[in-house]
């Protein structure tokens, strides 16, 4: 049975935030170190808006992060470390 769809391929605004895709296949995620000087560059470079400023700190919205590492690559203070999602030979989820 063919699905009934809108004529113009559209979705409700914000639907990508509601149904995040990265979490199922991300292999690493960023951790913000204490050397962070709050320059906010990482929040601008993050292609998925996963890094935000909250109460004077950079906070990771885990469900939006795909683990690309652009933030760590761009951080001038080297204050972002990419940590593997899996550890150990059996690939146990942390």
């Amino acid at each position: 049975m063919v699905k009934n769809l809108p004529v113009v391929p559209t979705a409700k605004a914000g639907s990508l935030v509601e149904t995040p895709t990265g979490i199922t296949w991300r292999i690493q995620y960023p951790v913000i170190l204490e050397t962070c000087n709050m320059c906010l560059d990482c929040t601008l470079f993050c292609p998925d808006g996963a890094l935000v400023q909250q109460e004077g700190k950079i906070v990771l919205k885990v469900s939006l992060c795909k683990g690309c590492g652009i933030c760590a690559n761009e951080c001038k203070e080297n204050a972002i470390e990419m940590i593997p999602e899996y550890s150990g030979v059996k690939g146990v989820f942390r």
Binding site: V2, K3, L5, V7, V8, P9, T10, A11, L16
Partner: protein, 381 residues
């Protein structure tokens, strides 16, 4: 209605003006350029209330047109050959997003080697893109098809290309009747659909998972099939209103008792009418089938029009490499199982002239050919 001398490009521009286009997005290319030049003059003279978006490439031209159309405006652009290839990504976007953009295409040969001369290869390259494609035989039809194109597009929510050959049509003056604005306004009320709406924000062209993509494509193709009826209806309505009936998907000429049919699209058709008249005077039972809508492909209409014909000669001003002429190949496929011989010829590539003499020679050659060749034959090398 007034009658004046117009080039094909000007006829397209007058069509856009009568349709009261709201946005023109354009990047210059030869031979499509004069159409945009004329529209921009209408705007400058205050005869047309249109936003002219000047962009940095053909890709951006159609992208701007697509955006304007998503915002609900009646939108027009013009291009050909390399420009059409450069905007190809957005050609598919426009069809997939179901926007009724109308694009005039002054058909020109594709590089390499570089050529500025007429040929239909550029339009043919977009045959799988989901655009409705109309081909015009003369400048009057360019103007009339422009107006019908907007009506068809806004009915089935698909974009339409109006094809006319570079120079042969785009730069040649012909007598063209221009309908009154008032009657066109009645024929072509703006059927506005806004997708970009600040009151109701939506994410456009979001990722469609395997669960949805195929269903979207099914609906898109269904709209193409709907166009098979709509193109006929709109042509009939236009004919009734303005006295020029271009006969929908295909047109037939002297086909009642024809034993040999000539099938073509574009400027060749008007020459072929003269050839058919001449050969009829000599007692030859020759007829003409014009393919006016190449997309959607009018397979059923062609089967019906050619059901009593033994010999069919089909000519293509294009080459699909490794396959043959596009129209010839598709016609053979449409006529599968029908008892007839189809001889397919490729001619007139890159501006090589096709006059009534060439058409006569092709028809003679086809009569003499005893066995149908699998591939298309090259004529006029």
């Amino acid at each position: 209605m007034s009658t004046t001398l117009l080039t094909g490009s000007e006829a397209a521009a007058y069509g856009a003006k009568l349709a009261r286009i709201e946005v023109l997005a354009y990047y210059p290319i030869t031979p499509a350029f004069p159409a945009m030049e004329r529209v921009s003059k209408f705007i400058d003279d205050g005869e047309l209330n249109t936003r002219f978006v000047r962009v940095e490439s053909d890709h951006s031209a159609l992208a701007a047109a697509l955006g304007a159309s998503l915002a609900g405006s009646r939108t027009f652009t013009v291009t050909n050959s390399q420009g059409l290839l450069y905007m190809t990504e957005v050609v598919y976007h426009t069809a997939g997003l179901r926007q009724p953009v109308v694009m005039a295409v002054a058909n020109r040969a594709l590089s390499a080697p570089h050529s500025r001369f007429p040929e239909q290869g550029d339009a043919i390259s977009q045959g799988a893109s989901g655009w409705i494609q109309l081909f015009c035989e003369n400048n009057q039809e360019v103007l009339d098809n422009m107006l019908q194109a907007f009506k068809i597009a806004e009915t089935v929510r698909l974009p339409v290309m109006v094809n006319y050959e570079g120079y042969i049509q785009s730069h040649t003056l012909e007598e063209v009747g221009i309908p009154n604005q008032e009657t066109i306004d009645q024929f072509l009320p703006l059927n506005r659909v806004r997708t970009l709406d600040v009151e109701n924000p939506q994410a456009v062209n979001t990722v469609a998972s395997p669960e949805f993509y195929m269903d979207y494509k099914f609906h898109q193709n269904e709209a193409m099939e709907q166009a098979l009826t709509v193109i006929n209806d709109v042509a009939a309505e236009y004919g009734k209103e303005f006295g020029r009936d271009w006969s929908g998907l295909i047109d037939t000429y002297q086909m009642e008792d024809a034993e040999h049919a000539f099938v073509a699209m574009g400027s060749m058709v008007s020459d072929a009418r003269i050839v058919v008249d001449e050969l009829r005077k000599q007692g030859q039972k020759v007829g003409l089938v014009k393919v006016r809508a190449w997309r959607p492909f009018p397979a059923e209409a062609l089967r019906e029009a050619l059901k009593n014909v033994q010999l069919i000669t089909v000519c293509d001003k294009n080459i699909v490499f490794g396959l043959g002429g596009a129209l010839g190949t598709e016609l053979k496929s449409a006529l599968y199982g029908q008892d007839c011989r189809v001889n397919s010829y490729i001619l007139g590539l890159g501006g090589r002239d096709v006059t009534t003499e060439e058409i006569k020679k092709v028809l003679e050659l086809s009569e003499k050919t005893e066995k149908q060749a699998t591939a298309s034959e090259w004529f006029g090398l």
